[in-house]
């Protein structure tokens, strides 16, 4: 293990986080929120005093491998979450440190699960920071670092692979740094377009910015107690629905479109499955909830918004889907697990994994009936090799194991089974709201400390796609071999 290099990378993350934290401080100045100054200044100083020395002392041996990549990414996320929680805690708006950490992890992992019972009493700067963590976490801190640091002589691929979502990681262009810049460029552009659309829809400017951040990261922190339902505008609902879906698409596809390679962009199997699942779900849920709403347009609007919000693992709500019929609720839980596309800012299992999983299962059934048949898995015209296939199957097994273990631990808490299962799925898939007590109108403040810690771990595991966190805590990693 190259510990010096892990700490060097950590140093970079810390001081970049400090710079990013200046933005909410500026917001605090603009709105004159004196009670939050100290809450931002202290963590900025902590980050700088720890980050700059680590960053300056560059180790001689800059070699890092998969192990170092996975551990530094996991460590970076945990450390930034702990320090990112300080503004809430120091300004006393969230009195418990564990709750502050929960809120920050929920932010960085783009989950959007909140322990706040009344969001509207929060000052602007903290609301901004809360949503801004979504935006940073959506694309990833380390990808951001890759995009901004001047020159890398490090093997950064291991970092990107550990942080970016999806079963296979493709670089866009030959240069890692350029790839990261293109990703962030697309990300910023889409965010700005969304802000313009929202302002045009007569949403207040501050609300537009933070809602855009939450949408871009597919996070889902609302700044109103009843989330997007507060604005009660069909225009805003539809704009947000479309943009949520857009942020749930693999960003490589946008790059292909920028290169005017539309044919290849739309030939993507994952995209087709993703859109197909959305269309089928929207129609099915709309029919199911038809009786609740006055007309078909109304039920379609809510169905569309909710389905996009859940499959992209954003977690905004315009309606209390906890009141919907059982089928719709079940569909929502399933959509949580499926999640968005690989290479997007969303969470969940990822559509491509689900597709590979299904094709693998189909092949195994086929080979049961015809033992001599040989079959392979094809995705977007490319053959999925057996190593990737095995990786997906193992991922699924690990995913289920973590979900089941978490549900068992949560069962010691005061809530019913539906709440617990939905809470675990909502956190593990970075969705945010679950059902019952953890539903769109509820929040996570009622859970015990143990349950909150488990849910925090679930969010981190979900965002980093299991392995970095497991590797960090595995004794095998730390054993000198």
């Amino acid at each position: 293990m190259n510990f010096k290099m892990i700490f060097h990378i950590l140093g970079k993350v810390l001081y970049i986080t400090a710079i990013l934290m200046l933005l909410p401080l500026i917001v605090a100045f603009i709105y004159g929120e004196k009670d939050t100054y100290i809450g931002f200044v202290v963590p900025i100083l902590v980050l700088l005093s720890a980050g700059i020395p680590l960053e300056i002392f560059k180790p001689k041996n800059t070699l890092i491998f998969a192990k170092e990549g996975l551990t530094s990414v996991a460590l970076a996320w945990i450390v930034t979450s702990l320090i990112g929680a300080l503004p809430f805690y120091i300004s006393r708006y969230i009195p418990s440190f564990l709750d502050s950490v929960f809120e920050t992890v929920s932010g960085f992992t783009t989950t959007g699960a909140s322990i706040l019972t009344d969001v509207e009493m929060m000052p602007y700067s903290l609301l901004f920071w809360r949503s801004f963590t979504h935006w940073i976490g959506g694309m990833g801190v380390l990808v951001f670092i890759l995009a901004v640091i001047p020159k890398t002589d490090m093997s950064m691929m291991h970092l990107l692979r550990a942080e970016a979502p999806g079963p296979v990681i493709g670089k866009l262009v030959a240069k890692m740094r350029l790839s990261a810049r293109i990703l962030y460029g697309i990300y910023v552009l889409l965010t700005v377009i969304l802000i313009i659309f929202l302002v045009a829809g007569k949403m207040p400017f501050f609300d537009s910015v933070v809602t855009s951040f939450a949408t871009a990261g597919t996070g889902g922190f609302g700044i109103k107690n009843n989330s997007i339902a507060f604005y009660d505008s069909a225009y805003i609902d539809i704009v947000l629905s479309i943009f949520m879906i857009l942020f749930g698409v693999n960003f490589n596809i946008y790059y292909l479109m920028l290169l005017k390679n539309f044919k290849r962009a739309f030939k993507n199997d994952e995209l087709r499955w993703y859109l197909g699942i959305i269309i089928i779900s929207v129609v099915a849920v709309a029919i199911n909830i038809y009786s609740i709403y006055p007309n078909i347009m109304e039920s379609l609007r809510h169905s569309f918004f909710q389905v996009s919000s859940i499959i992209t693992t954003t977690g905004f709500s315009t309606a209390d889907f906890d009141q919907w019929p059982m089928f719709s609720k079940t569909a929502i839980l399933l959509l949580m697990v499926i999640g968005s596309s690989a290479g997007s800012t969303g969470g969940g299992m990822k559509v491509s994994r689900i597709v590979i999983l299904f094709k693998s299962v189909r092949n195994s059934i086929k080979s049961m009936a015809n033992p001599r048949s040989v079959s392979s898995i094809n995705l977007s015209g490319e053959i999925i090799d057996s190593k990737t296939e095995k990786g997906v199957l193992n991922y699924f097994a690990l995913y289920m194991l973590i979900a089941v273990t978490s549900v068992v631990i949560l069962s010691f808490d005061q809530y019913d089974g539906i709440t617990n299962i939905s809470a675990v799925l909502a956190c593990l898939n970075n969705v945010g709201p679950g059902l019952r007590a953890a539903g769109p109108l509820g929040n996570y403040s009622g859970f015990s400390s143990v349950s909150k810690i488990i849910l925090i771990l679930n969010m981190l595991i979900g965002r980093l796609e299991i392995y970095p966190v497991i590797v960090l805590f595995s004794p095998l990693t730390w054993k000198r071999r």
């Binding site: 070699l63 491998f65 998969a66 192990k67 000198r480 071999r481």
Partner: protein
């Protein structure tokens, strides 16, 4: 003695070279006429071209009069068959080289049911030698006598040693541990020292002592190396398999890097405790990722000698505490003398050592038996262990200082009733003793009496 060697390959040629110098009548059988011609030209041997397992060829080579048949072709089955046929014809002793792990598991059957005198597996023997070095990493090479009661370690004393300019007779006063220094290599020269010999820096010394004394001696010298924990083997051949199997009984962590994916799968099935890495063992990045810099020992066991040597040099440069290099071509071993590669093992030398030892033991008269024989200091000296069984030997009961030994012969150790005696002038040799003698290689000591003038 009449010795018939079937197969003039790596082991065969080494044996021909070694045994022909010891004044045996040697007949070589090989299917390749060129190889036979070469052997006849370079050594004083007779050659027969043909299949060594065929009755007519064996008859032609007069296998019925042979004392020892050594079958060392590259086919296990042919070796076993040749030995069986030769035995039926009337050869006295048969030695077969059998290297496949499957056959190696039935060694006892081969020996007792099929009547083979000795079955030798070069890869297994090499692995065992590496294993011994790993168990005592301070030594470049470690040989054991008398079932492990006495060990002989080859150690480089390095720069600025406290032994510099020390006379051997003053050794005990300085270190306070009793050991015998049996041979010393200084550059190209080899000494079998007397008490007034003076040790210099960078000498390679061969120390004979019990395991405990040896450890203490090296600790006093400050060149004792701690037990090894992380072993990295590059190249997953048969030696690697045997070695990893032996190491799995210890608590060492074994990593094997192997370039062939199929072989990796086989190894991972056969060695559940080892970590198998699929990749090119000469790829610096891969070695770095798999932790060569953290390894306590690096053992290159690849097929190409040069790659093994380069890898060892690389590991040494990165301060890996111990490297053990496998080298097949013995002429490279001599070249290596000037490079610091740590320990070197050579499968064909290990195998030839074992067979020569066996041949030598057969030759003794009834009075004394060569139990063990090692070639040391690049084949320039021999260390022999005799078991004294004859009570009429003239050397018995006489203090050593009154015996007239040949030039450059050293009685290094006497083991009596399981007790180790570091011989001094007043000690005597008695019946039942195990005596370890070090002699120059060209003396070819065959029985104990040979050490006397």
């Amino acid at each position: 003695m009449r010795i018939l060697i079937i197969g003039d390959g790596k082991v065969g040629s080494t044996l021909i070279e070694r045994l022909s110098k010891e004044d045996h009548d040697i007949v070589v059988i090989d299917t390749n006429p060129k190889v036979i011609e070469n052997a006849v030209n370079s050594c004083d041997v007779m050659g027969v071209v043909g299949n060594g397992a065929s009755y007519t060829i064996l008859k032609e080579a007069e296998a019925d009069k042979a004392d020892i048949i050594i079958a060392a072709t590259n086919s296990d089955e042919l070796n076993i068959l040749a030995c069986l046929v030769a035995k039926k014809i009337g050869a006295k002793h048969t030695i077969a080289r059998v290297r496949s792990p499957e056959y190696s598991k039935q060694l006892q059957f081969l020996k007792y049911e099929l009547g083979l005198s000795m079955v030798i597996n070069p890869e297994y023997e090499t692995a065992a030698e590496i294993y011994r070095i790993l168990r005592f990493p301070s030594a470049i090479k470690l040989d054991v006598f008398c079932k492990g009661k006495v060990e002989m370690a080859e150690v480089q004393i390095g720069e600025n040693s406290i032994l510099d300019n020390t006379k051997l007779i003053d050794l005990y006063d300085k270190i306070k541990v009793k050991v015998i220094i049996g041979a010393i290599q200084r550059g190209e020269e080899v000494f079998i020292p007397k008490g007034n010999f003076v040790i210099k820096n960078n000498d390679i010394i061969h120390i004979t002592a019990s395991h405990k004394d040896l450890s203490e001696f090296l600790k006093a010298l400050g060149i004792y190396k701690d037990r090894l924990k992380n072993i990295m083997i590059i190249g997953g051949g048969k030696i690697a398999y045997y070695l990893a199997n032996m190491l799995s009984e210890t608590n060492m962590n074994v990593t094997i890097v192997e370039i062939d994916e199929k072989r990796c799968v086989e190894l991972s099935e056969a060695l559940p405790k080892a970590r198998i890495v699929y990749g090119n063992g000469t790829d610096q990045m891969l070695l770095a990722e798999e932790g060569i810099y953290d390894a306590d020992a690096v053992i290159p066991l690849m097929g190409i000698d040069e790659e093994n040597i380069i890898l060892s040099l690389y590991a040494n440069k990165h301060n890996v505490p111990k490297t053990i290099t496998k080298i097949n071509n013995s002429s490279l071993v001599e070249l290596l003398g000037t490079l610091n590669t740590g320990s070197v093992v050579s499968p064909r030398k290990v195998t030839a050592d074992r067979i020569v030892r066996y041949a030598r033991a057969l030759q003794n008269s009834e009075g004394s038996m060569v139990n063990t024989l090692y070639r040391i200091v690049n084949n320039k000296a021999e260390a022999l262990e005799f078991l004294i069984t004859d009570d009429t030997l003239p050397v018995l009961h006489i203090p050593l200082k009154n015996l007239k030994f040949k030039q450059n012969i050293l009685v290094a150790c006497i083991i009596r009733n399981n007790k180790l005696i570091y011989p001094a002038g007043m000690d005597t040799i008695e019946v039942g003793d195990n005596v370890i003698v070090i002699s120059p290689a060209e003396q070819y000591i065959k029985e104990f009496q040979d050490i006397m003038e």
